[in-house]
Symmetry: C2
Subunit: 195 residues, 2 copies
DNA sequence: AGCGCCATGTAAACTGTTACATGATTGT
DNA sequence: ACAATCATGTAACAGTTTACATGGCGCT
């Protein structure tokens, strides 16, 4: 999948592995991150497949840059991938849920402390999505070109997902912390009125 | 991480690889799934580490069962893992967001069709969490033992997360579909009143 | 003097998926 | 007759992380 992330970024403009890693770090990195080393090995693999080509740009006082460009084949491959709809839910991996699932026999104070830490992390992330990241994207909507506008909608939709996800996460943490703090109270799902 | 999922399940009772895979399929599978083949190879690795032991239970008319049991070392390793708090947000991989991010130049009808399909998938999943899965867990709250009750809270918290996540997902899809359906309207994040 | 940025990669280890291989029993 | 369930695993591959290795420039 990193293949397509890289193709997508290279379609905006030819770039080096380093550039790509930087670009990801401030955009798709929130939902698709890769180590720098993986970017380099993936670029080499993509070049082998004929989806990208590279050339060296010499520099003084800095290491030379190897700049990658998408080939027509790579372009077609990306369009093909984007055009194929997802027809199944992809499996998720949520480390915290795995821990929590097996934490019932632990001292509740241990679990609660862990959840409190996470709460602050997610709250901070939510604020990032709702504040600076949102502001940075807002300017993209100024472009009158309809394609640029649609692009802005897509970008902001991914940000919006992040914001909602983190808000949901914090609310869930608050409620879970409350449930674990008062285990003597009836807090099962079967007793909630209206069901 | 699968290591700890397996240890967790084996702590409830000694089981075979096949049993573990079944157990995961109806509980942790929603946030930590593994192929059957991976369960077998992981069990072998855990036995090498000395965290589990196995013995054969002969059966007539069925293949013999290799039943695994947690060793004291494995028990300690699981407690250790559960006791170490998470101090960073783990990176997420959200395939749909990656596609959507690069879908701005596509025909909007293609993107919309893809999102519509996903909407029905997530709505169905949400109904599962809110209905049958919730009901199945509700009985666990009947146990008067405080430890069993805390365990039930932890299990149900993971289900609750699933329910909220899917609800959030569907709401986000609805709003994103609406934004992409009317691209001529001003739908940027910078124009919403109150900000 | 030391840290961070720019810029390249390789190698080893680990994790996870897909395909292959076997075979009896039970239900439609 | 065919598919699903029970039950075991191996082998090849793909994807990802972590550690290693290099080196000049600019800032504090």
């Amino acid at each position: 999948m990193l293949d397509f992330a890289i193709l997508g970024f290279l379609r905006y403009q030819p770039q080096t592995g380093y550039d790509l890693h930087q670009a990801m770090g401030s955009s798709t990195g929130f939902f698709w991150y890769a180590q720098l080393s993986q970017v380099y090995t993936t670029l080499k693999r993509l070049e082998g497949k004929g989806w990208v080509t590279s050339h060296i740009e010499p520099q003084q006082d800095r290491p030379d840059r190897r700049v990658y460009t998408v080939t027509p084949d790579g372009d077609a491959a990306l369009d093909d991938w984007l055009g194929t709809p997802l027809t199944e839910l992809e499996p998720r991996k949520e480390l915290l849920l795995l821990r929590l699932f097996f934490s019932g026999r632990l001292d509740p104070a241990t679990t609660l402390a862990s959840l409190q830490v996470l709460r602050s992390l997610h709250a901070r992330q939510q604020a990032l999505y709702a504040g600076p990241i949102r502001d940075r994207l807002a300017v993209c909507f100024a472009d009158p070109d309809p394609v640029a506008r649609r692009e802005a909608i897509c970008w902001d939709a991914t940000r919006d997902f992040g914001e909602r996800f983190e808000r949901m996460y914090v609310e869930w943490l608050d409620d879970t912390i409350a449930r674990l703090s008062h285990p003597e109270e009836v807090s099962g799902p079967g007793i909630v009125p209206g069901r």
